[in-house]
Amino acid sequence: MERPVSLADFEIIKNRLFAINEEAAETIRFVSASPVANQVYDFNTGLMTASGEVFAIGRYIGIHGPALQHVVKVILTEYSDNPGIASGDMFICNNPYEGAVHQSDVVLVAPIFWEEKLVAWCGSVIHQVDVGGPTPGQVSVGAQSIYEEAIPMPAVKIIEAGRLRKDIEKDYLIRSRAARLVGLDLKAKIAANNRMKERVGELIRVYGVETFLRAIEEIVDYTERKLREKLLKIPDGVWRHRSYLDYGESIYTGVLTMTKEGDALTFDYCGSSPQAPAVINSTYPGLEAYTVSLVLTYLSFHDTPRCPAGVLKVIRIISEKGSFLDAQWPAGISKQTTASGWIVRTLCSTCLAKMLDATEEFKDRVIAPSSGTLCVEELSGPGFHGPVLDSLAGGTGARSYKDGIDTGGIPDLASCSIVDLEAAESFFPILYFYRRQEKDTGGAGKYRGGTTVSFMYMPHRVESIPSKIVHGFGVVPQDLGISGGYPAPNYHTRIKRGTNIKEALKTGIVNSLDDLSGEIEDLTSICQTYQGATDVFEAIFSSGGGGYGDPLDRDPALVLDDVRRSLVSVECAKGLYGVVIDAGTVQVDDQKTSEKRESIRKERKTLGRLNLAG
């Protein structure tokens, strides 16, 4: 006889299901040989209802989980009869038009049967270092449509009745320049899915299938209730934001009008630029995944499960088909996660932060936007392929009561990390000169945004890095401050070519490109280049966080502390915060600080044009 879902059972089952996700994540970390998976944790796992609603996701890449539902729904709609869905099957997919966020985020989903009845699904996603296409890595430089990118794989049954189909595996791996790594990642996902299936089976054996099914339904309802309770405490209103993506000579504008009415939220992306003849677009699953991920980041607090299906009951998404945020076939998608997807992230985080800032009860929950211009370098050559993802060590946005966290990471990628520097040097043929928190990269404010990472490296043990694809965007900064806080600056990458690095290393430590001779080459938002034996690459990322509050309201003692810790320069202390620090004593000059702040206020009144529209 089935047991009813008591509150105690519900809590146990709910927490157990999230623990199952965590165990699946550990499985991926143990099996994968790719630093992207086992050190950066650029993956996620999820559990779904029999119809594909995602009710529990892991704490890693926030967008991977919500997108799973689209893949499962395609399988249920199109494949139920042919090739059929049976116990022991698994389906692979990296088609962005069927639910993969972009081609590199390869999905593997598995049905979970109990006594011949389909009761749930599980899924794993790992970012693959290379899935083919004209250029190495995730971005197909110069592609104008998906036909010129890595060929997407629609949902395909790759495991049939527990047996890996070698023909499909071969079809999948032959595309990749890093087939061994990608092949092992496939095994990692198989292992993770098997672990989730086993653990869900154990749960059903203990509690019974009816209790299990009612419990997962309750997780969705509980999430919906918790979100609606919070929204009812927030004033009704409309928040808007524009975010700009530069690609070549073009600017693509993302527009969000977010309306909170009663206990519901509407995200309206109408007005965004048309889809691009390029690699930067997003499909609807990607747009939805970013929106859901950001709602979970900003509104789940400590008490709401990571349950995308619950979020989707509370929000409505409106978009224009054919825009670059909801692109139609055959638009190019390969750069989605460092382009249009990131724009959606900025749009949502800015509107959600401002909405919480307008709410007395939740103002302490504000996180100013951060990491608005993610930039990735894809290195490729004989024996090595993969991205350098140090930009994930961004500074977080300031809160309404404290500073952002320096190199604290990305809030919606809660448990992701960067590759240990020694491990990176062992995996890639590179030698780092530094990886450090970079001063003046956090947005100024009463509370400062977290500073971000910068780093510099050269080829090592090889003659050159023959292919180096750098892709980001960010002519205009993205991480707007909140309540008068300043934005964080935009990233910049450059190479100094033909340096005297070998001689310089004999005489001391190299801390900057300025210490070297050679020719500086500034890199564009997306480019395929190379790095010769003495070419040194340097990256300053705008993965810093936006500030909170007027910088002139910051306690001078905190600014002094920032200067002493090399997080803010003396020049910015004076110019942005109005805090004058005596160079000799390294103390705040109170009199001059007071005068400087007054002069900045006067300057604002002098320079400011009084708007009297309306």
Binding site: H241, K354, S483, P487, R604, L607
Partner: protein
């Protein structure tokens, strides 16, 4: 009723106004307050020495909106040169009780 850390909507004898923390009344609550405060438009470099290192950001401006009375920085935005100000916060709920 709070708008952000410096702004609130207050009820002045039945009229809802956006007010700065210094007490300066900016405009009706249903208006875009940015259109009624000090506007300073600057190149992107204004936010710090690391901004716009590529020098390609000249088609954008950084806008600061300050209280005409106390000069506190109320909010900021980026925009293309000549682009209209964004009405980014539009609260529909109104405060109860007159002040």
């Amino acid at each position: 009723m709070r708008v952000n850390d410096y702004l609130a909507i207050v009820d002045r004898k039945g009229k809802h106004l956006i007010q700065c923390r210094c007490g300066y009344s900016i405009c009706d609550a249903n208006k875009n307050f940015k259109e009624h405060v000090l506007l300073i438009e600057s190149p992107l470099k204004k936010i710090g020495p690391l901004a716009d290192m590529s020098g390609k950001g000249t088609q954008f401006v950084f806008r600061e909106f300050c209280c005409p009375n106390c000069a506190v920085l109320l909010t900021t935005e980026f925009a293309l040169v000549g682009e209209a100000m964004l009405h980014d916060i539009e609260l529909k709920q109104k405060p109860t009780g007159s002040q």
